[in-house]
């Protein structure tokens, strides 16, 4: 029997006192698509980095095609046939697709002063496309390409060295729409048929079931499960529970009781913004959480920004507690009481080198300072301490730069910012990206608590999350709102609405 494409035995890796990986065994067969699952810190990225040569293993053996290998750096890994495509591949924007594919490999001899034969490049690209047929115009520049085309270019670049046997894809679909995902999956199928083995890392559990042959779950630095996807399906196992090591029952807090739901806090009618979204409307009440399920490209991101004044609105109305508003900037939106908890908190939500107090008071500097503009330092510190306690910020060190906090705690600091801004409506966009499943439960509890005194909207591309946390949901599909009259839906109906854009009869 032929040796597997890749085999790892008893791999261990320590960083100081921390065991990042302990005694990991792993097998990747030829032509197999193998998904790696696990929460942040479970060890899967460490494992991948060892395979791709970024880290060196402390113990264990790695074999490619039956031959033991030792990778000292990424170039070694490539030489042994292991290529990696990062989550956000680095490409040269104004170079064409095929120039990117053969970057560094343009000429016979590598070096700074070799002749480039552009005609030769397109011939070689043609040969590559014969091996892995995919419908793409490689003469376009990267800047002109869509997200999936760029991913394809990155994959072709990884495969351009002919001897690659193992391709590692790190979160390849994080920026792709549903349609684009299909295109990518077709390419992966082609790779599989071409004998390339694919290691597929993702957080999206539905994708795993769709594309992978086998999956392995990391938890606490160990490989806790490795099985065929068919088997998972047959036994109806919960991947999330495998990753967490516990049942999911208590991740989401209980829904709101009907008599706990109060007055209308936010009423949106027929909100439209050009090509992004049209005719969105709903009424949000105090005490209930509204969930909006929207995938990449559905207009959800734009809608959130429009509510927050960051994107102009063409028509429709927004009213807070009966008062019509039309925010033209986040500054105005904040004044009216709308607070956005942005999707990427490191990029959009926090000034990382500043302290918690600084960040918490930033959205309401008026309250944080006197009429003359002088900061009320004691008062601000006191308020921040109160919020930190209420939100269980850990560690409760308000003088530390916020970069030192974990993802979940950073999210709490952003929420505290909204509390300090005395917001009436909180809009959470992709609230638990990069947040440990354990910390997610606390965050969901926080949202429920917030909803008792303010309106809470949760927008996410994770259907389970939206369905689990919200009292009422609707889906966004290509800018249109898909919601049934009664508001509440089953999880599968919500999923269908967001993926297909129509209401299905259960």
């Amino acid at each position: 029997m032929a040796a597997p494409a890749l085999r790892a035995r008893a791999i261990s890796k320590r960083f100081g006192p921390v065991n990042a990986l302990s005694d990991v065994d792993f097998v990747l067969e030829t032509g197999e698509v193998h998904a790696l699952l696990g929460v942040n810190g479970a060890g899967k990225s460490t494992f991948i980095k060892i395979l791709s040569g970024i880290y060196r293993k402390d113990e264990g053996v790695i074999e490619v095609g039956g031959e033991a290998i030792d990778c000292r750096d990424p170039k070694d890994a490539i030489r042994h046939g292991i290529a990696t495509v990062q989550q956000h591949p680095e490409l040269v924007a104004d170079f064409s697709g095929y120039e990117n594919i053969f970057l560094g490999r343009e000429a016979m001899r590598p070096g700074l002063f070799s002749r480039i034969e552009r005609g030769d490049l397109s011939k070689r690209a043609g040969a590559l496309l014969k091996r892995f047929p995919v419908d793409i115009d490689l003469s376009k520049t990267i800047a002109e390409m869509s997200a999936v085309e760029r991913e394809i270019v990155a994959i072709l670049q990884a495969l351009a060295g002919d001897h690659i046997r193992v391709l590692i894809l790190d979160e390849p679909t994080s920026t792709l729409t549903e349609v684009e995902k299909t295109i990518l999956f077709r390419l992966i199928d082609t790779l599989r048929q071409g004998g390339i083995s694919v290691l597929y890392i993702t957080h999206r559990l539905e994708e795993v079931m769709e594309i992978a042959d086998r999956l392995s779950v990391f938890r606490g630095g160990r490989m806790v499960a490795s099985m065929l996807v068919d088997e998972v399906r047959a036994r109806n196992l919960s991947l999330a529970e495998l990753m967490l090591g516990e049942t999911l029952d208590h991740v989401f807090p209980p829904k709101a009781e009907p008599d706990a739901i109060g007055e209308e806090v936010l009423v949106v009618r027929d909100l439209t913004a050009g090509n992004s979204f049209a005719n969105i409307g709903f009424a949000l009440r105090r005490g209930e959480i509204l969930g909006i399920f929207g995938l990449v490209g559905s207009g959800a991101d734009e809608f959130a920004k429009a509510l927050f004044g960051a994107i102009p609105v063409e028509s429709g109305s927004i009213a807070i507690r009966g008062r019509p508003i039309a925010p033209r900037s986040p500054r105005e939106a904040l004044k009216e009481g709308i607070f956005l908890v942005p999707g990427d908190r490191r990029v959009e939500g926090l000034a990382l080198t500043e302290t918690s107090v600084f960040n918490i008071t930033l959205a309401n500097l008026k309250r944080a300072s006197s009429a003359a503009g002088i900061l009320k330092r004691t008062g601000n510190r006191r308020a921040s301490t109160e919020f930190a306690t209420r939100l269980a910020l850990s560690p409760p060190n308000l003088s530390m730069p916020v970069s030192g906090f974990s993802g979940g705690n950073q999210q709490k600091i952003v929420v505290a910012k909204g509390l300090f801004a005395e917001a009436d409506v909180y809009i959470f966009v992709e609230p638990t990206v990069g947040v440990d499943i354990g910390a997610r439960a606390k965050l969901y509890g926080l949202m429920r608590e917030l909803s008792r005194s303010a309106g809470v909207i949760v927008m996410s591309s994770d259907c389970d999350e939206v369905h689990g946390i919200a009292d009422r949901t609707f889906a966004l599909y290509k800018g249109r709102q898909i919601s049934p009259p009664d508001g509440l839906q089953t999880r599968n109906r919500l999923l269908m609405a967001g993926i297909m854009g129509e209401l299905s009869r259960d």
Partner: protein, 334 residues
Amino acid sequence: MTRSLVLPAGSGRFIAFLLLVVVVATAFTLAEPRFLSTQNISAVTRHMAANGLAALGLTLVVIVRKFDLSFAGTACFAAMTIGYLIALGQPLWISIPAGILVGAVIGAFNGVAISYFRLPDIVTTIATGSIAAGLAFVYSNGRTIFQNFMTSGILDLNDARVFGYSLSFVFLLGLYAVAWFFMHRTRYGASFYATGENPVAAYYSGVPIKHYTMLAFVACGMTSVFAVLLILAESGTADTNEGANLLMPAYAGVFLGTALLGRTSVLATLAGTFLITMLLDGFSLLGIPFYYSDGVVSAILLAGVVFFDARLRDLLGDIGTYLQPRSAKKETRA
């Protein structure tokens, strides 16, 4: 909070800085005892004033993560403007504000071009600085202006003493104190820092970031005029070249201060400027010729940046290519 001196991290570096000052002062005094004389200290404080003033506005620009290479040219133009008005017989309370207005207008132009039209900062300010330096010649076709200087009272700015220290030094300290308070105890300073640290987060927090970026450039233009005013007062004439030498020491002060104290701030710039002025003064006392001064300042700047460069790298990491708008850089990320 991290910027106050009571924090362990901040005060550690500050104490290290003070030790450095003591070491340098001791070294110079051993080589040349005149270094610690009242006369010399007075000279140091006076020389520090012009450089320190120019560096103050630049500090704001660097805090919002931009560069300004125009303020030397702006200073030249403003100096000639002031000189021209003085020569025409205008009183100081008209001439000086007119010069400051020039600085503010050029700064505003920079700010609008860079902040609202998103032109690259380095190249744009090189251009505006060059235009301003050329405009300096307009008043007198390049000839030095000196009429009425003696009688206008401008020389008093240089000669006046407050508690034994030159008026210019006291003004410097006063302005720095106000600036420090502004940056670290008011919401406006917080907005500046937020704009520089993470413009997107600041925008989503309601901070008008374009406004603040523009204001930084206006401030830089204005402080360069304060600086050149002191040079005018000392020389008693207005030259088209008056402000040309402000660029290097200002950058040295800001970045040396950043390297020494760990982050760009009013205090850091003051420390950096002080150290540089002290070193320059010491070298000149030791008889090293004037034309070495730029080189000395440069070498110190380089040494400071190289040895403390980790922080600087983080601070300036995203000011990479500047011919391309920010959106182009993001294109390469899928």
